[in-house]
């Protein structure tokens, strides 16, 4: 798994690629909580995620709840088919705000 973070206006765009599994999800959790803690509205781009497991989903849920407590925005964008399947299985597709693309949010 790899990640990139870039800033657009008030948004921190976090791009995850590859497998988000038990080995890598602690890094994802830390990264997302850092961005939220820094006061950014976070959009997680999941277009390059080939696999995500329950531990990866747990990192997203924790970040989402942390952002909500702070009153900041947290959303997902360009969710890959593999990632959407897991979100649907966990019935989280109706909980997260999911955008068709990052540009649809940032106007880029």
């Amino acid at each position: 798994m790899a990640y990139k973070v870039h800033k657009t206006g008030d948004y921190a765009i976090v791009e995850l690629t590859g497998d988000v599994d038990l080995e890598r999800s602690p890094d994802v959790r830390k990264l997302l909580l850092e961005q939220i803690g820094a006061g950014h509205a976070v959009i997680v781009d999941l277009s390059g995620v080939s696999y995500i497991d329950s531990s990866g989903v747990a990192s997203l849920v924790e970040a989402f709840q942390n952002a909500r407590k702070r009153g900041s925005d947290f959303s997902l964008a360009s969710v890959s088919t593999a990632a959407m399947r897991v979100l649907e299985l966990a019935r989280l597709d109706k909980i997260f705000t999911i955008h068709a693309s990052v540009d649809a949010v940032t106007g880029g």
């Binding site: 497998d19 038990l22 849920v61 709840q65 399947r85 897991v86």
Partner: protein, 141 residues
């Protein structure tokens, strides 16, 4: 179903470590492809086995890096039978349950994913010297 009705496909024993899960996933994906599973069927099998192995690592071995997991995959007519064997303390089967999905919180989804992705998931009597045997079955589609 007796062992004689099953064709052995592959058996691997790997350290029970998060960094070995990708190896297990790739092995399962190739094995499922070899016997004609569709992409969706392969994804389901990979997800279920990965989640079950995570449970072994986290709850069975409590992240002890010396633990081992044996993955034994067999073909029984049109069904894949996957046996996951560990050497951890025996699981209290009554305590293995999914959380209420309406209660949105991090964690607790593994058992739900296993049940959704596989046709059957059942703890069986483990071989001599082992702690647990979880048998997962999935009809090949």
């Amino acid at each position: 179903m007796s062992d004689t009705d099953e064709t052995r496909l592959i058996e691997i024993t790997v350290p029970a470590l998060p960094e070995r899960l990708k190896l297990i996933r790739n092995t399962l994906r190739i094995t499922a492809e070899t016997v004609g599973c569709s992409e969706t069927c392969r994804q389901d099998i990979v997800m279920a086995v990965d989640e079950a192995c995570q449970n072994i690592i986290r709850h069975g071995y409590k992240n002890d890096p010396d633990g081992l997991i044996t993955v034994d995959v067999r073909l029984a007519r049109d069904t894949l039978v996957i046996k996951l064997i560990d050497y951890a303390q025996p699981v209290v089967v009554e305590q293995v349950k999914s959380r209420d999905l309406e209660d949105v919180r991090p964690g607790g989804l593994g058992v739900h994913i296993i049940r959704e992705c596989m046709d059957e998931a059942e703890f069986k009597r483990p071989p001599e010297g082992a702690g647990n045997l979880l048998e997962l079955t999935k009809k090949i589609v």
